[in-house]
Amino acid sequence: MNNYFKVLRPGINSTFQDLGRFGLQHLGIVASGSMDQLSFCNSNKLVGNKISEGALEFAYQGPLLEMNGENALVAVSGKVNFNLIKKNSEIIKGKSNESFQISNGDKIDILSTINSVYGYFSIFGGFKIEEVKGSVSTLVKAKIGPNNGNKLKIDDKIFFKKSHQTNKSKKIEFDFDKDNTIRVMQGLQVHYFSKKSQDDFFSKEYKVTKLTDRMGMRLEGVKLENIVNKNIKSEGITKGSIQVPGDGQPIILLSDHPTIGGYPKIANVITADYDKLVQKTPGTTIKFKLVNLAVAENAFQDYVRKF
């Protein structure tokens, strides 16, 4: 018997992701991977998978999926408003960060993320999806990844591995960090900006705009004055780099960033604050706090303890 979910509604941007595809950036292939790595790993932990197993990432509105096959243990992580619609049409309000059983004919309707952007859906045993160069992460722009590198579409079938499990439901206490301070380290070209602009950037508020996706987050705030050169010789890009193009408004480069780029970078988001950053919805005002490497490395120690 084939075990699969039928996609009745794909959601806005639903893609398979894992921890990322590495070792290929010199050929122009960015790592991609789940935006919020802690929530991604939680979705796997909830169903008893290894934390690197591929899961379905969704943004804002997720998919409506109908299950065909054997009973399975599934979970939705993040902060998500969703329903389990039983075969007999009974609607059960879903609980995020708590795994649950799903049976043949049941539907999962992922309505929306709550005051956040990304959520994850996983199943015990994992989805039957094809690895591309060692990863099931999807880079839609270059059509790289499972499902031919595409987002979910209506009528797609998502097969999952046979699980034969009797795993019990599991729960993780979880909430997003509501603090809007993002810690950053100085960027390579911080001195391209006037002293006043540096002070502004590290103290004033910036608003997350709607022009935000898996590639980058455009911010709006005090214009940053470049006093050296609006372009640099193109150089490799690191996730979390904050570049400032000619218009003086910063852009934070996120998981699907271009591999090289020619704009000066004022700062870099520290690893420990990246998950928190990507969950900030458009309209949120954030502030940057300048820290040094030692602080960032210590913050990372605290961050990994959450996994």
């Binding site: 990322g20 590495f22 070792g23 290929l24 950036q25 010199h26 050929l27 122009g28 292939i29 790592a31 591309v132 160069k133 722009k141 270059a142 059509k143 790289i144 590198g149 950053v184 380290m185 960027g187 390579l188 010789k233 193109s234 150089e235 490799g236 890009i237 690191t238 996730k239 979390g240 780099s241 271009p258 591999t259 090289i260 780029g261 970078k265 870099n268 988001v269 520290i270 690893t271 490497l293 960032a296 490395e297 990372f300 990994v304």
Partner: protein
């Protein structure tokens, strides 16, 4: 020469080889790139996730839980990689290009700027052995140099919204080949039917940093035949 190593956030470092963009500087970058790639493949260093060479820099990204930047910097400094003879794995690739007017969108603009006619522009482009400085922005897109000095031109004032896959463009002393349909501001002089990038092949990207590219002119008919192969 490696001038400076700096941190990029808490999980990256940049190795800076100075401000010059020329083959000699880039060859130094690629030497270190080859050394790091080889060290990763032979498990001499752990936790390295990506290494990205550009004109004058190598950026190395790592997994913070596995290794810290000071350990990588120490590793680079303690190895005299410039003396290590890695197998010469660079190659020369011949790339067919069709300069038909349907594809050479900016020939008029270039003729005006360079005071050369179409034929002269093409022959100057064909006579160059291009060096692959770097690959990226999008998957497989090569940045080649150096163009014949007489062909130098700026970017378009208004970038095109859509440039077809395979288009060959030039700006300043560089030449690129668009591996995906994308927006772009380069002066387009022709198109190749040759597929430089295919994620499903073992050899995903035909070109690697440090390779040499030589263009070969083909007719529109050959272009079509090549496409249909």
């Amino acid at each position: 020469m490696l001038k400076k190593i700096s941190n990029i956030g808490d999980c990256g470092i940049t190795c800076d080889f100075g401000d010059e963009v020329n083959k000699n500087t880039n060859k130094e970058v690629i030497k270190l790139f080859n050394f790091i790639q080889d060290s990763v493949n032979r498990r001499k260093i752990k936790g390295i996730l990506n290494y990205t060479p550009s004109y004058n820099k190598l950026i190395i990204n790592f997994e913070l839980g596995q290794i810290k930047s000071n350990q990588i910097i120490e590793f680079i400094k303690s190895n005299d990689y410039s003396k290590i003879n890695l197998p010469e794995n660079t190659k020369t690739v011949e790339i067919p290009i069709c300069y038909d007017e349907e594809f050479a969108l900016d020939i008029k603009r270039l003729e005006e700027k360079t005071k050369l006619n179409f034929k002269e522009i093409v022959s100057k482009h064909l006579e160059t052995n291009f060096f692959v400085y770097m690959i990226g922005f999008v998957p497989g897109q090569p940045f080649l140099g150096d163009l014949n000095k007489n062909l130098y031109h700026d970017r378009l004032d208004t970038p095109r919204i859509r440039i077809n896959k395979g288009s060959v463009g030039i700006v300043e002393k560089f030449c690129t080949i668009y591996t995906f349909e994308s927006p772009g501001g380069w002066n387009i002089i022709g198109r190749t039917p040759f597929e430089l990038f295919n994620i499903n092949k073992t050899n995903t990207s035909i070109l690697s940093p440090g390779d040499t590219v030589k263009f070969k002119s083909i007719s529109k008919k050959e272009f079509t035949l090549f496409k249909n192969e």
